[in-house]
């Protein structure tokens, strides 16, 4: 139990270091004087900009050695002081709070929908390998994995909101608007998890204990529910850890596509606008979201199969 927590905490630390270091480097490498840029962002480009820049340089200590500045930057990260957005001037932390909420809702609903689609198809295909469900499932999985998420999103937008008019194509506010982006992500996730589930269910269905449960006369439903699902769930849940990558990357793409005001949307905007404190903040939060999902998956795996904990 403690082992995986320590590992995930270390991962979180590495995420902060990498994001911090890259953004710090970005601040240095971008053309122009950093103090001048910040001054212009704060007070607007007026005639006294040079004096303002000197003040900023003194205030933020931009004239000191680079290493010292980097350490201070990291210290700020630890205190959750992410600075101010260069564009809006608001504290980055405040903006992140709003966006994080929206993104977490999106990711959670996508995961939920994908769990309703993928494993269900997987169980039905795995119970009869080679059957019609299995083959359709395979074809569906191959097709959905070959469609880039943004194309899938566009296709869904056209079918569900333009042709059928069921759902709004973009926006934010009511639960109706979350459906399309969440469904886009969920279909991609389900395409992968359905095959993993299918393989693991097929493997469990071949085991002696499964045959024994049948031979001793248990009804099929109980055999599947008691002896099948939990055992088959272990690889599926550990695979969710890999899907966390897809989910976090997908959030960036899908949010931009559907104009959904979450972290990923903010990250893309910050990159286009070169708003470095925002880039740092959003990248950091998304990286940590990834770590958090992975930690959650660890915990569920442990609950499903306590042997992991004893072995560690």
């Amino acid at each position: 139990m403690r082992n995986f927590l320590v590992a995930r905490l270390m991962q979180a630390g590495i995420v902060a270091m990498v994001v911090g270091a890259l953004c710090f480097l970005l601040m240095r490498v971008l053309p122009g004087d950093a103090a001048m840029r910040i001054a212009a962002g704060r007070y607007g480009p007026d005639a006294r900009i040079a004096e303002a820049a000197d003040k900023v340089r003194l205030e933020l200590g931009l004239d000191r050695p680079v290493l010292l500045q980097f350490l201070e930057w990291l210290g700020g990260l630890l205190r959750l002081d992410l600075g101010h957005s260069l564009v809006t001037g608001a504290p980055v932390v405040d903006e992140l709070q709003v966006q994080l909420g929206a993104s977490v809702w999106l990711a959670a609903s996508a995961l939920l929908i994908s769990l309703l689609i993928g494993p269900v198809i997987g169980v039905f295909s795995g119970m009869k390998p080679g059957g019609i469900t299995d083959r359709t499932g395979l074809a569906g999985a191959v097709v959905f994995r070959a469609i880039p998420p943004f194309v899938l999103g566009l296709i869904l937008m056209f079918i569900l909101s333009k042709q059928l008019g069921w759902l709004p194509p973009a926006g934010f506010g009511s639960p109706r608007e979350i459906v399309l982006p969440a469904l886009t992500l969920a279909l991609g996730l389900a395409a992968m998890s359905s095959r993993v589930t299918r393989n693991s269910v097929a493997a469990v269905a071949r085991t002696p204990y499964f045959a024994f449960a049948r031979h001793k006369g248990l009804p099929e439903a109980i055999v599947v529910r008691r002896h099948g699902i939990r055992n088959a769930a272990i690889p599926v849940v550990s695979y969710l850890g890999l899907q966390a990558v897809y989910l976090v990357e997908g959030v960036v793409v899908v949010e931009s596509l559907f104009a959904y005001p979450g972290i990923g949307h903010a990250l893309v905007h910050a990159i286009v606008e070169r708003d470095i404190p925002m880039v740092q903040g959003t990248a950091l939060v998304m990286g940590l979201m990834f770590v958090a999902i992975a930690a959650l998956v660890d915990a569920i795996s442990l609950w499903l199969d306590p042997r992991f904990g004893r072995a560690a």
Partner: protein
């Protein structure tokens, strides 16, 4: 990037080679289009002709023209070459160091291995696309950071698989025998290890290329990748999207091309794995 989806179901060998063959045929056709197209098609993919804006398919323009009247056929061919070429280069830039470092880690062990493992952990701590996005922030719209970011995230997979597979091979008795017979490390790695891990590496390479193609088109589509005048498939879709009502097929063409590219690569990869 999620190249690691081990989703291949246990299927019959005959059907697997079938999927591999169809994937290879598909890839061959697309590669021919991507390589020969830009050479054989005389039209400039950037030449505008406003009188032919959104020209229909089959007229003066074989596959129609986009909203600026640029030949779609030429743009698709150049876009395919760009996607294919960039994906291939990215794959090479990821596979070569990945495999070499994996071999080095498995062979040398000790500090070399520990340092490389640390490096891999650092790269894997962040989702791949995030690393690419962070690097793209340095200069949005350029090939450099895109290429660098993608290969930086993709090499880890090659490294880890090579290291693990090589370790298993190196522990076997025939390697020990080869060592005792006095064969050099280079000879053993080349002749006893590489042939064993080559099929796995080929699978990974196909997946890496598929990932790279999806990533490049996606990043352009959300306007942080390559910038509009470049005939890039992802940005072509997004540019043509507002004209969907007038010319739906024009939007579908680049989308189909990406889909077929990725599908071909995945079929080949699935086939290889058997």
């Amino acid at each position: 990037m999620s190249t690691i989806d081990n989703v291949s179901p246990a299927r019959g060998r005959a059907r697997l080679s079938g999927s591999c063959a169809s994937g290879a045929a598909l890839l061959f056709l697309l590669a021919a289009f991507a390589l020969l197209g830009p050479v054989l098609i005389p039209a400039d993919p950037a030449a505008q002709d406003f009188s032919a804006s959104l020209a229909p398919i089959g007229g003066d323009y074989a596959l129609g023209a986009d909203h600026y009247g640029r030949s779609l056929l030429a743009r698709l061919a150049h876009g395919a070459r760009l996607s294919f070429g960039l994906a291939f280069l990215t794959m090479l830039a990821a596979a070569v160091p990945g495999v070499l470092l994996g071999l080095a880690a498995a062979w040398r062990g000790g500090w070399t291995e520990r340092l490389l493992e640390l490096l891999a952990t650092v790269v894997l701590a962040l989702p791949g696309l995030m690393l690419v996005l962070l690097l793209l922030a340095f200069s949005p719209g350029n090939y450099g950071p895109l290429f660098l970011g993608l290969s930086l995230t993709l090499w880890v997979e090659f490294y880890r698989v090579t290291r693990a597979a090589t370790k298993t091979v190196l522990a076997q008795p025939h390697i020990e025998a080869a060592r005792m017979l006095g064969f050099g490390s280079g000879y053993i790695l080349r002749n006893c290890v590489l042939p064993v891990i080559a099929p796995t590496i080929a699978t990974l390479a196909a997946f890496a290329m598929a990932t790279a193609i999806i990533a490049v088109s996606t990043l352009s589509a959300i306007s942080v990748g390559l910038q509009p005048p470049t005939p890039e498939l992802g940005s072509m879709i997004v540019e043509l999207l507002p004209y969907y009502a007038e010319a739906p097929v024009h939007v579908l063409l680049p989308a189909m091309l990406i889909f077929l590219l990725v599908l071909g690569l995945q079929l080949v990869a699935e086939g290889d794995r058997a």
